[in-house]
């Protein structure tokens, strides 16, 4: 996996995740009840991430970034299919726990890849550039999605994001064959 492909891949998944995150709150509002439940939903996410990081770190060194990115992409692709179907708050909690694990996979692997690909001397500049592109992807995705939600149901956003995740996994696979 070249650095350039890593960059493409990251831009795509950041777009997909930015599509759902702001609007995810709307979904929670339909399901959840109180701010305490919002707190729990996000708290569980962070907590499972914390617990998952040590294991992921170990695997990251053994398996390499590619495998983990694919795991993350397809994991998210499948997980997102459940979001539109959620009706109870406990279901949100479970999804958040799995998202916490997957999120940790992505964050850890992203940073490992950066660490391996960036020269120490100009790391600041390179990581800065890296963030420009992923952030541009995020901004475009959020704004466009806002318009899309006005026309289609909130559930469709999750399907769209799921598809993008799924395709992003394939992109990584394809690179290996080349």
């Amino acid at each position: 996996m070249t650095y350039k492909r890593f960059l493409y891949y990251q831009s795509i998944i950041v777009m997909a995740s930015s599509m759902i995150f702001p609007f995810y709150v709307l979904l929670l509002k339909n399901v959840g009840d109180s701010y305490a439940q919002f707190g729990w939903a996000y708290g569980l996410f962070a907590l499972t991430s914390a617990l998952a990081y040590p294991t992921i770190g170990k695997f990251s060194d053994q398996l390499g970034e590619k495998v983990l990115f694919i795991l993350y992409s397809w994991g998210m692709a499948v997980l997102l299919l459940f979001f539109p179907l959620v009706t109870e708050v406990w279901q949100v909690y479970i999804l958040q726990i799995i998202m916490g694990i997957l999120g940790a996979v992505q964050k850890n692997t992203e940073k490992t890849a950066l660490a391996k690909n960036v020269k120490k001397e100009n790391a600041g500049k390179e990581i800065g550039n890296y963030h420009v592109w992923t952030s541009v992807g995020a901004a475009i995705a959020i704004i466009l999605t806002g318009y899309i939600v006005d026309f289609i149901t909130i559930g469709s956003i999750f399907y769209l994001a799921s598809l993008i995740y799924f395709i992003s996994g394939f992109l990584l696979l394809k690179k290996r064959k080349e």
């Binding site: 009840d33 109180s34 499948v78 459940f82 539109p84 179907l85 149901t153 559930g155 399907y159 799924f166």
Partner: protein, 472 residues
Amino acid sequence: MLLLLLAYLAALGSSIFVYQNKISHPVVKDKGRLLPIKVKNIQSATGEQELQQIVREANKTNDKLTIAGMQHSQGGQTLYPNAMLIDMKSYNKIVRFDRKRKTITVQSGATWNDIQKYINPYGLAIKVMQSQNIFTIGGSLSVNVHGRDIRNDALIDTVESFRLLNPDGDIINVSRKENSSLFYSVIGGYGLFGIILDVTLKLTDDELYRTRTKIMDYKKYEAYFQKNVLNNHSVKMHLARISIAPNTFLKEMYITDYVEANQHDLSQYNHLKGETIAIPKFFLGLSRYSDWGKNLFWDVQKKYMKMSDGKLVSRNNVMRSDSNFMEYDSSTRTEVLQEYFVPVNQFTSYIDSLREALKKEKDFNLLNITIRFVDKNQEAVMSYAKDDMFALVLLINQGQSKKDIEQTQRVVRNMINITLEHHGSYYLPYYSYPSKKQLHEAYPRTDEFFNMKRKYDPKERFVNLFYEEYGK
């Protein structure tokens, strides 16, 4: 690889299928939110031909129909499982306005606010409506509302005629002369006889009122009302509140009368106002959670009320409150209403009995009681005003679990028994807490009413949960 792709596509497909299924059977709730019901679909009413088409089609496919306006009734009066829900809100045009005769004909999905905005420039006002102006005319007719006005009776008093789309899909005229038996059952008929298309209402002149406020003990209220309100013909509207705050529970009252003022000044006061809702919403929020909040809210209300003493306000503006501050978003708790009618001369003893009963109910979260007056009117088959009555509206905060519902039911049935013992009755648009026996006692013509329904709608095309619960 291909297998993976296929597996994912299969998962995607089935998820979308389940999701589509979920949204194509819309779950509809009324304001009480205790009755989520899956309907078959929601049809928006656009014109009378389209409505006729819906009814005729339903006769062919044997679908059940239910009619909805703002859906503020809380006992499933607009709901029925797997029925087609006809949403009347977009059927809301002003059809005719006769300034000289002071009548207006509107489509039933129009709201009181629509009418007010239309007639205010002509110096006219509505005779009888709820205190809030957000409701549709069709819905208001179906529950035969009453309001702050004390010189007219219930809404039925102000209806000249209407057109009804009957269960066969035919349109008929209904008035006190034409199809008169339908006139008295469709008004207060909870949508069981067909779709009310357009309604001709009698209007009155917009007037300027001076607000007169007083604080008094509940024991003095009855005499005060007889002497200073009912027998003083310059008083046109009246509204009271009795304390639910622990410190003054069901003892202290404050009263607002609207007294005719010098009409020359009307033009300075007759532009329609909006309303601020943030402050009452905040205090109501506090009183939901604690006795301390209830005491505070009551004190604030009293102070606010004193400030409005002597203020001039037009009739149209008195009839323009907004109930948005009562919007309550919790998904585990909800707020329900009850309304009890008691004859004026029973008031003091009734409040004593009610206090006695409620003091024992520590978990019963009562948030507000307002009191209005309604003149005796027994035109409608389902008439609640069997006498000159005080109408007490109770706002109750409760949970949505089975246990909570049973708890409220027990208290409500007890309160209704007390009401009936004082020769009173209760209002029907609310959750089906009352027993069948209580319904028959409060409304002696109940059997006649439901028999009429089956006479005019033998196939039971128009149904709702109220009919399901009490009509069969």
